[in-house]
């Protein structure tokens, strides 16, 4: 038994301060109670077989089958895409060559952020800036469940470069994060209860007050927040698109981005979107540099065509606009949508519960557990190196996809 340093791949905080107790190939966190880490490490691997039509087979046969399927497909969607930089690069190598479409598990929520970025831009910050500089932090409806240690490490840190003694933390939304209640004796925060629709009105009123100095009678909460904003030296606003009411989330995000831009006219403010589940930001960054476009891009015309509505996984599967879907998930057992009228492939971790329900299942390891890897943090700026710690011979997504591409090319 020994202890090792570990960089955790299971959320986009990519904490590298974790120590694991290692016994053969089982691992236990020594210094972290992060629920996501604990549950992720507990997953039992009963077998590592590939499957074709639910029947166990060897990996090379499964790869050959997948190569054949891609070759025969008229339109293939790669989605889920829960993978690392190398996995994304290997996928795009096929997607570009064989004129496929690419989306991600977080496509629905992340595309709301995309839309706002493409329309108005924004003013952003990274985690260390959040930790060290912000004297006011406003959190819009983000329970933090996707990033379990966000509050502990970055919102209520022990030390900051700027020796911030009195940080104002204001939570605006419907449900206060569990962390806040658990730690209410040692942290200070304020709560303004608002659902998505009222939040939108609230944001608009704040923006009106800042931009037009309206003198109409105001909600006390608005006056209170305006007072705080005026006293702020450096403020941050955090939000998570997936936790807003879906049909108006893009409008809310736009208002937040515009509010931050407005605030910078007289003080300093910046924002951070917390939509980062299943490493959508890593995938998106590689897509942007290799193709010029983010997720929800098709290569059917031989060049990239980006459309956040047209290339949504749900829409493509429901309308059978594709005949093959390749799901990739090297981190967890998130459920996938299976439409029996099209071919379904899952490149996933060996414990995935739907491995018998797809046409082809190919098991892969997890970045940072089974192979060295690079992933981007929630702020998109910092990329972290992750090291292999487990020896159970599970291939990586890029190893599988590079073989698949060879197979497709060979058959030509």
């Amino acid at each position: 038994m020994k202890n090792i340093n570990f960089t955790c791949p299971f959320c986009s905080l990519l904490c590298d301060d974790v120590q694991l107790e290692i016994k053969k190939n089982s691992f236990k966190p020594v210094n972290s109670g992060c629920s996501l880490l604990v549950s992720s490490l507990k997953k039992k691997i009963n077998d590592q077989f590939s499957r074709v039509n639910g029947k166990k087979t060897n990996i090379s046969e499964a790869i050959t089958e997948l190569s054949l399927m891609i070759k025969e497909s008229k339109s293939t969607l790669f989605t889920g895409m829960a993978t690392d930089i190398k996995g994304t690069k290997a996928a795009l190598n096929i997607i570009d060559k064989y004129k496929c479409i690419v989306d991600h598990f977080s496509g629905d929520s992340y595309s709301k952020n995309l839309k706002s970025m493409q329309e108005t831009g924004g003013f952003f910050l990274t985690l260390s800036e959040l930790k060290n500089r912000a004297d006011t932090i406003i959190i819009f409806q983000s329970t933090g469940e996707e990033l379990p240690r966000l509050f502990e490490k970055y919102i209520f840190p022990k030390k900051t470069i700027n020796n911030l003694k009195k940080r104002k933390v204001i939570f605006i939304g419907t449900k206060v994060p569990k962390f806040f209640y658990k730690n209410k004796k040692i942290i200070n925060f304020e709560f303004i209860k608002l659902d998505s629709i009222n939040l939108l009105n609230f944001l608009s009123s704040i923006r009106n007050s800042i931009n037009f100095e309206t003198k109409e009678a105001k909600d006390k909460r608005i006056l209170y927040l305006l007072d705080i904003l005026k006293k702020t030296n450096y403020g941050s606003i955090l939000w998570n698109a997936s936790e807003f009411q879906n049909d108006i989330s893009d409008v809310i995000i736009n208002e937040i981005n515009l509010l931050i831009q407005d605030l910078n006219k007289f003080t300093r403010f910046s924002g951070l979107s917390l939509s980062a589940s299943d490493h959508v930001l890593t995938v998106n960054e590689v897509l942007l540099w290799q193709t010029g476009f983010p997720i929800r891009t098709s290569f059917a015309n031989g060049f990239p065509t980006h459309d956040t509505n047209q290339f949504s996984t749900k829409k493509l599967i429901d309308n059978k606009e594709i005949d093959l879907v390749v799901w990739i998930n090297s981190f967890n057992e998130k459920s996938i949508v299976i439409n029996k009228k099209i071919k379904n492939v899952l490149i996933g971790i060996p414990s995935h519960p739907q491995k018998n329900n797809v046409d082809i299942f190919i098991p892969v390891g997890t970045p940072g557990l089974d192979h060295n890897s690079h992933l981007l943090r929630v702020d998109k700026v910092v990329s972290m190196p992750l090291k292999k710690i487990r020896n159970i011979s599970l291939p990586s997504v890029d190893q599988i996809l590079n073989k698949v591409k060879e197979g497709v090319t060979d058959d030509n």
Binding site: E129, N132, E285, Q290, T291, F293, F299, P304, S383
Partner: protein, 554 residues
């Protein structure tokens, strides 16, 4: 295998060859001496009437990193306008100013460029920027790491820590981020903006640290000299884009007291504030200073008319300029206690007074700075224009009648404010070879590129000799990279990756104790996760070429 390129006219300023007809021999990726009799020449290529220069070197071009990706994210419309289909051996892609990675490599190769340097890599973003650059084929690459605004360094300077310790920190940063050089961006200003200071002149104090840009500039300039770094300090100074900033630029030149300094995109730092509009050309003033100060090198950052996007680590300046965004959207970011980033789309218009004068100022600088070895051709891609505008820019420098014709088209008031029409100088092919090859290689301390002497990499561009220099430079007849024919008549032949230059330097390892503790307390990750290891680069097929810090001509 030996390849002989025969009968071409050669322009190779490092070896003082000015248009002489001469044969070149390539063997194992390098240029070699004439083979001994009996040694077999496998291939002879007759290049009669053609012109040969070494592969081009772009000393300052924003080709990768978080800022470029943010610009791509912000501007899908630009990408939709410039779409590139995939083909048998090429990937698809899009964009011009923020072109996607593979096509940056294809486009540079087609222009005859073989080395490009990304000039603004933030320490915290270095790893992913370098991984991104591994998807830019053909060209050799390298980066300058941005310092001058990180809280750790400013704290050292505030405490008046010894120069030796600062040198250790700078060397540690170079090693950890795999940089070839160090770039200053608005020294102290990006940090000051985080404390809501909206401007910071050379002798103004940063609110938090109480230190001035001058002190940062001096300390870092000295550091690179003490370290014998391949490239002297690369400086994006204070007050970018501000009318009257030419005086600050001149003060900066004086501040380094004769020590080597590279001033980048000087066009944006050459503005005077005379005239009714309080905006005028400071090019003559700056050129006069640079002509006298032999320690100064510069690149221009020429603007060309049309749509582009500006991307910079200088959040203070970019925020100030966001009112000019076209289309009306912009992004800024405060980054990781080391710097920032700002993206503002821009359309330079030839009927607009300011834009016209910016265009003229850039050309004035090219024509008034006398020594071509100390001025290099850049558009600060994509800030002034995409690098694909280089052929037209070369024509403007080489052809006075064409230049005069273009000058006639710009805003009339700007014409009256510029001396450009009176400048008769025309660059020769030899001068262009200095501006785009020999000069950048020399200032970067790279001895195996930028020339065609024995032992140089066989990076060779063969041009058709055309009267129209834009046509000549935009479509080389042949381009060789490391001895391989990569482009022939505008068509890409074979795709592979170039090398990645890094500076190799030593430092007192004791500094890591302090840095490690700083990371532990404040940065949200450990120092070891910050340091880029060689193995990580090799995993992406990146081959490094380490340049020893032993420059002895400072």
């Amino acid at each position: 295998m030996i390849i002989k390129l025969e009968n071409a006219r050669i322009y190779d300023p490092i070896n003082k060859i000015n248009g002489k007809v001469k044969d070149l021999y390539i063997k194992n990726q390098y240029i070699v001496d004439k083979p001994k009799s009996g040694e077999k020449i496998s291939k002879k290529i007759n290049l009669k009437n053609k012109i040969i220069m070494a592969g081009g070197i772009d000393i300052h071009s924003h080709i990768a990193g978080g800022k470029v990706n943010l610009a791509r994210l912000l501007l899908p419309e630009e990408h939709r306008e410039h779409l590139y289909p995939s083909s048998e051996n090429l990937r698809s892609g899009s964009g011009l100013g923020t072109c996607s990675s593979f096509h940056i490599g294809y486009k540079y190769a087609k222009l005859g460029y073989c080395a490009v340097f990304e000039p603004a890599v933030l320490p915290s973003n270095a790893r992913s920027a370098i991984i991104e650059m591994s998807d830019i084929p053909f060209v050799d690459k390298g980066t300058y790491t941005v310092l001058s605004n990180d809280d750790f360094l400013l704290n050292l300077i505030q405490k008046k820590i010894s120069q030796k310790k600062i040198n250790d920190y700078v060397a540690w940063i170079l090693n950890s981020t795999k940089g070839l050089g160090i770039k200053i961006v608005n020294p102290g200003g990006i940090n000051a903006f985080k404390f809501n200071q909206r401007a910071l002149d050379l002798d103004e104090k940063n609110k938090k640290y109480g230190i001035t840009p001058r002190s940062i500039l001096k300390v870092l300039t000295k550091s690179l000299i003490d370290l014998k770094a391949p490239h002297p300090i690369h400086v994006h100074g204070c007050n970018l884009g501000v009318p009257g900033n030419v005086n600050t630029t001149i003060k900066q030149i004086k501040a380094v007291e004769g020590k080597p300094m590279h001033l980048t995109h000087i066009q944006y730092h050459s503005y005077d504030n005379k005239g009714d509009r309080k905006f005028s050309s400071g090019a003559s003033l700056l050129a006069e200073n640079i002509n006298k100060q032999k320690n100064i090198t510069c690149d221009v950052g020429q603007i060309m008319f049309g749509q582009t996007v500006t991307a910079s680590a200088d959040t203070m300046s970019q925020y100030k300029n966001h009112h000019f965004a076209r289309p009306k959207k912009w992004i800024c970011a405060d980054i990781e206690c080391d710097a920032g980033c700002g993206i503002v789309p821009f359309e330079y218009q030839d009927k607009n007074f300011v834009n016209s004068l910016q265009w003229a100022i850039g050309l004035e600088l090219f024509l008034l700075i006398k020594d071509p070895w100390r001025i290099y051709l850049t558009t600060d891609h994509p800030n002034g224009a995409a690098f694909t505008a280089y052929p037209k820019l070369i024509k403007l420098l080489m052809d006075k009648s064409f230049r005069d014709g273009e000058f006639e088209k710009i805003n009339k008031e700007a014409q009256k404010s510029s001396v450009l029409g009176n400048l008769k100088r025309e660059y020769s092919l030899y001068d262009i070879a200095i501006l785009t090859r020999a000069g950048p290689a020399k200032v970067l301390g790279l001895t195996n590129i930028g020339h065609l002497g024995i032992g140089a990499k066989a990076n060779i561009t063969v041009y058709n000799n055309k009267e129209d220099k834009e046509e000549m430079f935009e479509n080389p007849f042949m381009v060789f990279k490391d001895g391989n024919l990569i482009v022939k008549n505008g068509k890409i032949q074979k795709v592979f990756n170039g090398k990645f230059y890094t500076a190799e330097t030593d430092f007192d390892k004791k500094i890591e104790k302090e840095i490690s503790s700083y990371f532990q307390k404040y940065m949200g990750r450990g120092m070891e996760s910050f340091k880029i290891k060689n193995q990580e680069l090799w995993d992406y097929g990146i081959e490094t070429e380490n340049i020893k810090c032993d420059r002895n001509d400072y």
